[in-house]
């Protein structure tokens, strides 16, 4: 493990509230692992954590430093440091055509229109999808839309890629293919999922429950404990409980 602060993800007593109700509280962690997994149930605060990490939300208390930057304040550093892949590609895709969607991020990094168009073509070619460049988003399948999102984010060459349940609802072959593309990309991964199977390859795993980290460590023991606990809860009826 390196000890240089610039390589680290550091959360210090991080808290986030929505309308006075704590969603995350007292999150402290420091890691420089190359692939990090966060496992938790629906409503455990995982998605909020992903948005805080990407600098899209401002913490109610505590601090986050990604590679030394406060990404909520420093949006320029954010664009160069992190990319975030949302769960639903419909929520992420801004443009009607594939090439426009990919070129958008490149222009945000300061490239000219022609440079960005060139860059988008290069990314598509790198994924062997050059024939997609004029395709309209509306004509793509769900898995193909996911891949467009992934290409659009990877085109910006983020040092850290945040994945917010990117595989939920996808079939196994699509999952495998997307996973392969991600592993090939030269970026750190911060992968959030409710499914322990998605996180088995991570170097380090955190278990998030009701806005707090309840366990952390190597994937094997943490995910095994998580699975056992989830199976135990499956026998109960906590669906009946209302929040707040």
């Amino acid at each position: 493990m390196s000890d240089t602060a610039s390589d680290d993800i550091r959360l210090d007593d991080l808290g986030y509230e929505i309308a006075g109700r704590p969603v995350l509280s007292g999150l402290t962690l420091a890691t420089s692992a190359r692939s990090i997994g966060v496992v938790g149930r629906n409503g455990s605060g995982k998605s909020t954590l992903a948005r805080l990490m990407a600098g899209l939300l401002q913490p109610t208390s505590g601090t986050i430093r990604i590679h030394g930057h406060d990404l909520f304040r420093d949006r320029r550093a954010a664009l160069e440091t992190v990319g975030i892949l949302f769960q639903n590609p419909e929520h992420q895709i801004i443009f009607p055509r594939v090439d426009e969607e990919i070129a958008f991020g490149l222009r945000q990094l300061g490239q000219s229109k022609t440079e960005a168009a060139e860059g988008a073509r290069a990314v598509l070619a790198g994924f062997d999808k050059l024939h997609w460049q004029d395709a309209t988003i509306a004509a793509l399948s769900q898995g193909q839309k996911h891949l467009v999102c992934m290409m659009a984010v990877l085109a910006m060459r983020p040092r850290l890629m945040i994945l917010d349940e990117p595989y939920a609802g996808l079939d196994i072959p699509t999952r495998r293919q997307l996973q392969r593309y991600l592993n090939r990309a030269d970026t750190r991964l911060f992968h959030i999922s409710h499914d322990p199977a998605d996180l088995a390859d991570c170097a380090q795993v955190f278990w998030l429950d009701q806005g707090r980290i309840v366990a952390q460590g190597a994937p094997c023991p943490v995910l095994a404990d998580f699975t056992a606990e989830m199976n135990r809860l499956g026998e109960l009826d906590d669906l009946a409980d209302l929040a707040g």
């Binding site: 990407a54 949006r75 801004i94 443009f95 990094l109 509306a138």
Partner: protein, 205 residues
């Protein structure tokens, strides 16, 4: 999104969009300035020739786009038959038809991308006045992207309604559709922020 640009390639497709628009403005103003029946008839003949020149498919498509003015032609015809001001009636009908036909002709022979470029060029001076016209570069594609999404959402809502009701859905679908639009706006706003905000915007440090 399918534009009204004609798939039949005409020579006018190659002319600069700005020139076509300027010609349209000039012709329209000209028609309003004259009351000569002869000039109006000449204009109509000229427009028909322009529609007919690229061939049958183009001509029928063009006439189909003109159908929307038919009720008004009928209305004016009846009106002027009653008031017996035939000369004035013919003039007004001709002017209306020629104006719409000419404007449609520009649309039919200009690609969406050229029109968009023209808008960017025409609005560029406004930016110096402090108007945020650079936002159009992001806003226009966003609308084009989300129309099919909202139409599809409306159709699934109608389907869900029909699955459980024998009555027509009608306006009751609009509330969930509007909520969907508001939610999508929140999501896409977030996605936009995640990748650096709208195009052409100088980011604050």
């Amino acid at each position: 999104m399918i534009s009204l640009t004609s798939p039949v390639e005409t020579r006018a497709h190659g002319w600069p969009a700005g020139a076509k628009l300027a010609a349209l403005c000039l012709a329209s103003t000209g028609l309003f300035l004259t009351d000569s029946l002869g000039l109006h008839l000449t204009a109509l003949a000229l427009v028909l020739v322009l529609y007919a020149a690229p061939g049958r498919v183009f001509f029928t498509a063009g006439m189909r786009h003109l159908r929307v003015v038919l009720p008004f032609v009928a209305l004016l015809a009846i009106w002027h038959l009653i008031t017996a001001e035939l000369h004035a009636g013919v003039l007004i009908v001709l002017r209306m038809v020629v104006l719409v036909a000419l404007a449609n002709l520009v649309t039919m022979t200009t690609r969406l991308s050229e029109m968009t470029d023209l808008v960017h060029r025409l609005t560029a001076p406004l930016r110096r006045l402090g108007l945020p016209v650079h936002l159009l570069e992001t806003a226009i594609p966003l609308v084009i992207r989300f129309i099919p999404v909202l139409v599809a959402r409306a159709e699934t809502l109608a389907e869900a309604w029909r699955a459980r009701s024998r009555r027509r859905p009608g306006w009751r679908l609009i509330f969930p559709l509007m909520l969907h639009a508001l939610d999508e706006a929140d999501h896409v706003g977030e996605a936009l922020r995640a990748r650096g905000g709208p195009l052409g915007h100088t980011r604050p440090e």
